[in-house]
Point group: C2
Chain length 268, copies 2
């Protein structure tokens, strides 16, 4: 899954979260590393649930264990502006950031409108969103025109966790270049393994479960230990492993501990 | 823009729209070619406007000249279920299909929910939607699980019109293979030039204006003549050239005539 970084050996830790927070220029990256240090967590929970109430309940329950809540706002059957207010209040209460996993992937003029307006007004409430690099640099420039002034940040999708995905080789390298060229707005990557040794870039890895495996539609799971300690990523994104668990709080705690233990196992 | 098909020479027409309709197995592809033959048009209009009323007014005005109306449902400030009912009625009145340009780009399990549910329920009203190939075949399989039974169809984005885009070379070839492997649901491509000689695949090209040029965020425009007669595409997608025109009806008529003249200039 990671032809660019084939080594499976343990990597040295780039530096402690506190140091990373100091090294980052972007306020959102700084804030995220500060939260990770304060709460001793590198866990992001993906709240892929169909109702606002379900997402809010999950966020309130797992809030103490996470640095980031990842949303797919467009799968909510009953989205409302009130939901955004309540979710934002939970983010303050539990000290986590909100990441709308929109995967913007259109030309600059279109993503500007998709990000800033419509029913969802993503730029008004999501600290972080993300984009595919396939449209070229215009996608980042368009998003930045909207999110930059609001102090928002973006991740680029450098690698994916799904079988047969095309985010490999030169595609991944072009994505890293695009991030470097737009580091005033792009704070890191969605990836399966570290793509940059620059400590200001945050690496987040989806498709994480305590046991490896696949789903019926090509998702390929890795463990927290593998993602953090072997592949050099910074944040584990866990969805079904938590929200489908019999006890989501116990599951979140287990993932938080596994992810943090993997981080602590790295040589600093 | 088209390293796979570098020739700029005029190509022979694959066959007449009537014949293409007969060759297609998918009902949506068949219907689209039938409309193109009956209305003598290969024009799709991109209705990138912020209010439902604006989109409905544009659709009613340009309806006689188009085979397809392309929407970005998530830029509408006042989306409602009633809008879908009214737009669907206009599609019947003027005999065009609706194409939601969602550019799905996530893993199969996620796009299933984004396509079938949420506020927009895209699969319930969009005859056609589209997807990026970057997540691997799971994206098509997930969409097909929802749209297949509803008789919907999908396009894959094989090339883009924006500067520095990464949909080139092997990426494009993998996209074509993904379409061929899923031809019961994928009816063609978003591209700048023909990617397949199989007459059942429809090629649609965005970024079309009567004069070539660029916008401030990397969009690169081609003319109807170039797209249809030289690059071998089937449908021109025109946005700002029509909805920003002083007289959108006159503009739609001009693009319809230019696109159809280019088609008629091909040897059959």
């Amino acid at each position: 899954a990671s032809p660019e970084k084939p080594s499976d050996a343990k990597r040295p830790r780039l530096s402690r979260y506190e140091q990373r927070a100091e090294l980052c220029q972007h306020p959102v990256a700084k804030q995220l590393f500060t939260i990770m240090a304060a709460k001793q967590t590198n866990l992001a929970v993906s709240a892929d649930l169909a109702s606002c109430q379900q997402v809010l309940e999950l966020a309130d329950k797992v809030g103490p264990y996470i640095c980031l809540l990842k949303t797919h706002i467009d799968i909510l059957e009953d989205f409302s502006a009130e939901f955004v207010t309540l979710l934002t209040a939970l983010a303050s209460k539990h000290n986590f950031l909100i990441f709308e996993d929109r995967k913007f992937a259109d030309i600059g003029n279109t993503v500007k409108h998709q990000y800033g307006s419509g029913l969802y007004k993503i730029a008004d409430w999501a600290h972080i969103t993300n984009a595919h690099a396939v449209p070229g640099a215009g996608v980042v420039q368009g998003l930045k025109e909207v999110g930059g002034a609001k102090g928002r940040a973006c991740l680029l999708i450098g690698q994916m966790s799904s079988a047969g995905n095309l985010a490999t080789g030169e595609y991944t390298q072009s994505t890293v270049k695009m991030a470097e060229d737009n580091a005033d707005f792009v704070i890191g990557f969605i990836c399966t393994s570290a793509l940059s040794s620059d400590p200001k870039f945050i690496h987040m890895t989806p498709g994480v479960k305590l046991a490896e495996g696949t789903d019926a539609l090509g998702q390929q799971y890795l463990t927290p230990e593998k993602v953090i300690a072997k592949q050099g990523s910074d944040i584990i994104i866990v969805g079904r492993g938590i929200y489908q668990a019999a006890d989501p709080v116990a599951a979140a705690k287990a993932y938080q501990e596994a992810g943090y233990a993997a981080y602590m196992s790295l040589e600093s």
